[in-house]
Symmetry: C2
Subunit: 332 residues, 2 copies
């Protein structure tokens, strides 16, 4: 069964296909009676314009590519939701790509993206570096990067200043004289981990001290919990910081195992949390990174890039703000 085309509608309505095209694109030069004839035909035949053909003719597909890491973290879902919701408003479709270790790398994804002629691409991948964008750039596809601040032509970024967040947090503890602070590595988010580290180091520096609390997981370690269970037998801290709430919970579970009470003897904070944080006991104090907004703002930014007048300038990075929420894993 062949799909009904613009020709079928034209024949049915006794007009040329040009007129049908005008009607479905809302041109206002078409006379009312003609328009009605066309609309009836469209309705009668159940005609839906073929986006592929439109894409060819217009040289734009009104779809944008979205790249996310394999890991189905909860916040990745949030980002996708935010992005799709605003994409919907602007009538963009989303082509989803993932980077799965052992199955897909960024190069092969970029290849697919170029072929598919999306109008732009939003990338959320902590492992992304500036030079990975070279190919995309060569085919001048507009790019929005989530999470990393990346400087390049035709590339915008939307992120949260985690370095600053941690700096402020650590400063507060240092000023209270609590300087035994540890930061747990997150292998899945190496870049974010670096930001966190940098924030902590700056804080220590400004107090004339040196930060030594970075806890890199030894190679071979499978889970943070497995590592921490032993580590905490011989180490004590005032504060431990994890990136995700699940890591914070690993810390807390390991602490419990060693009879370290949280928050009384040790406080725990994480950066990103999920709805599971409302279920956990204790609930973890955290910076509430607005994942949904990261997605939504990125897409909004993308639409702006796509309709920019060449001459018009626009900001090429947006810093979203965070909010620290104190819960049961810290003292106040």
């Amino acid at each position: 069964m062949k799909r009904v085309t613009i020709y079928d509608v034209a024949r049915e309505a006794n007009v040329s296909l040009a007129t049908v095209s005008r009607v479905i694109n809302g041109s206002n030069v078409v006379k009312a009676p003609t328009r009605e004839r066309v609309e009836n035909a469209v309705e009668k035949l159940g005609y839906k314009p073929n986006a592929i053909a439109q894409g060819l003719a217009l040289q734009k597909t009104t779809t944008i590519g979205l790249v996310v890491p394999e890991a189905s973290f909860t916040y990745t879902g949030q980002i996708i939701n935010g992005l799709i919701d605003v994409a919907k408003i602007y009538n963009y479709n989303i082509m989803l790509h993932t980077i799965t270790e052992g199955i897909t790398d960024l190069n092969s994804v970029v290849e697919d993206i170029i072929k598919s002629h999306v109008d732009g691409v939003v990338i959320f991948d902590d492992k992304l570096r500036a030079n990975d964008m070279a190919t995309l750039n060569r085919y001048n596809i507009p790019v929005v990067v989530i999470g990393n601040k990346i400087e390049a032509k035709d590339v915008c970024s939307v992120y949260v200043n985690i370095e600053k967040a941690i700096y402020e947090l650590v400063m507060k503890y240092l000023e209270e004289g609590k300087d035994k602070i540890a930061i747990l590595e997150d292998r899945k988010n190496p870049q974010q981990y670096q930001y966190i580290l940098k924030g902590a180091k700056k804080a220590y520096e400004s107090k004339g001290k040196e930060f030594k609390g970075q806890l890199n997981l030894p190679t071979g370690t499978r889970t943070s919990y497995g590592f921490l269970k032993d580590w905490l037998k011989t180490h004590r801290y005032d504060l431990m910081v994890g990136y995700r709430d699940s890591q914070a919970m690993a810390i807390i579970n390991a602490a419990r195992e060693n009879d370290i009470s949280v928050p009384e003897e040790m406080e725990v904070v994480c950066v990103l949390d999920t709805k599971y944080n409302t279920i956990m006991r204790p609930q973890v104090s955290s910076f509430s990174i607005p994942s949904y907004d990261l997605g939504a703002v990125s897409m909004r930014m993308m639409t702006k890039m796509l309709q920019k007048d060449e001459n018009e300038d626009r900001e090429d990075s947006i810093e979203l703000s965070y909010l620290f929420t104190s819960r049961q894993s810290t003292k106040e």
Copy 2:
């Protein structure tokens, strides 16, 4: 800057575009030297075939639509991962759509899907009913449904038999004489809740009893936890069943609040769990629904539908198996 087309390559290599087309599509009728000239030209110009134009010419886009619910549940992420991984193997791209209450409904998504001329669509939406598929059917787009068993032409489904799982579970308890069993409503997954209920009812029936343990949240209740905290003041059970691990934790937290110890005084089981279940204390005994596999198998099924010979028969639904894993929230 115009993108390089097949014409450019043809000119550069001094052949016709037909030959270029043959080379990029791996036809083996092209002579080696010619092939090389073309390949060099492709390389030199950085030519990538335009999938849109191919789509128009071939009447197939090698992309499939994926519809998921708004809720960024962890298992939705799993499903997406599974689906994309096998899509990648078969060189399919994924167009992602979400059903967001207040933003998008199934109808508008279906509209987009039809226009985009995807080769098929995979739908994971607990609220989906058979008649929702009417439009998709009218434009005869192959459909795979995840989670629900739906009977319709050109529709396949991949699911887990939760009814049976619960039946077996409840039977086991009934045989041990534990018949105070409650099942917590999951508003986000009404269909799954029904399946669970059915399983429990059957078990009770087969014992000549009537099941009365269905716990529907009163309208106005915002969280299961809020409801259960009070409810458990006046109700005692041998076993409580929640759909997701987060609900099971709500049950456990509410039980704690009422000094009901788990699993000693009350046991708790959930159907779907996430990685957070490994972090929680107690860990919840659960059926491990293979979310990743649900996605992967669906996509595999889709590829089969798309290459089916009209005459060749195939099964139109696949039941995936589950595995009950006993953890700290049950006695053995």
